[in-house]
């Protein structure tokens, strides 16, 4: 028989489940969701078995713009060693994105999460935020913001460490 006590327990269970769902973000050490499942605009480069850096950025984000020259150099340097950088734009409008890509001509792949479904699922804490995955697609490092060369060198060291892992 349904009692007030059962109602209370159901409420408590609902609260616990609700809190769990609300905090369903990606965790370091866990597999990163497959990019192909998010209907991103643009073509994804082959990244199976490679060290991958996924960078969330936007055209209206100044630190994101500052990171582009460094990321281009990183891609050019480390791509032959098994590294792929994929930049995921969260711009809803295509025009600023297209103009930005035309102007900066990055050396890495750029796709657009126009519906912001992927970014809402991953929930990066700031713009830009990058996620470093090992060759098995496991998230090994998350880094928020871009503060110039110091951040860049730290990322580069972590990427090289993962490339050398067997």
């Amino acid at each position: 028989m349904w009692s007030p006590k059962n109602t209370s327990l159901a409420c408590l269970l609902g609260l616990v489940l609700g809190a769990f769902v609300a905090s369903a973000e990606v965790k370091v050490g866990a597999p990163f969701p497959e990019l192909a499942t998010f209907s991103l605009e643009g073509s994804l480069p082959p990244h199976e078995g490679r060290v991958v850096l996924i960078d969330f950025w936007a055209t209206w984000c100044a630190p994101c713009k500052a990171s582009f020259p460094f990321y281009s150099a990183l891609q050019t340097e480390l791509a032959p060693l098994g590294f792929t950088l994929i930049a995921v734009s969260v711009d809803k409008k295509a025009a600023p994105f297209d103009e930005f890509i035309k102007r900066f001509a990055p050396a890495f792949a750029t796709v657009r999460d126009s519906g912001q479904k992927m970014v809402a699922a991953i929930q990066p804490p700031a713009m830009p935020t990058c996620y470093l995955l090992d060759r098995h697609g496991v998230l090994r490092l998350m880094h928020s913001g871009f503060h110039g060369d110091a951040d860049g060198q730290k990322l580069r060291a972590e990427i090289i460490k993962l490339i050398e892992e067997k």
């Binding site: 209370s8 609260l15 609300a22 969260v90 809402a120």
Partner: protein, 78 residues
């Protein structure tokens, strides 16, 4: 219904409400949703004339000696 029966549900509802207040995700504009906020038109100093007028008013108000910058009497006449 006994009043004591309502105590536990009341506590749970109160906890849920308090938890909602403490969870920033419920009301926060997410980092990827700030395109409009980052727009140039959202800057308070986008119009030099408006900025100059605001500075002048701030300088003159309440006889604020010095205002934001150099010294003055607060008459707004300099």
């Amino acid at each position: 219904m006994k009043p004591s029966v309502l105590i536990l549900p009341s506590i749970l509802v109160a906890c849920a409400c308090a938890g909602g207040c403490s969870t920033t995700k419920l009301v926060r504009v997410q980092p990827w949703e700030r395109a409009t906020l980052a727009d140039y038109t959202m800057r308070s100093d986008r119009d030099p004339l408006h900025t100059a007028m605001s500075e002048h008013i701030y300088f003159s108000r309440e006889a604020s000696s010095g205002g934001r910058g150099v010294g003055g009497s607060g008459c707004g006449c300099n």
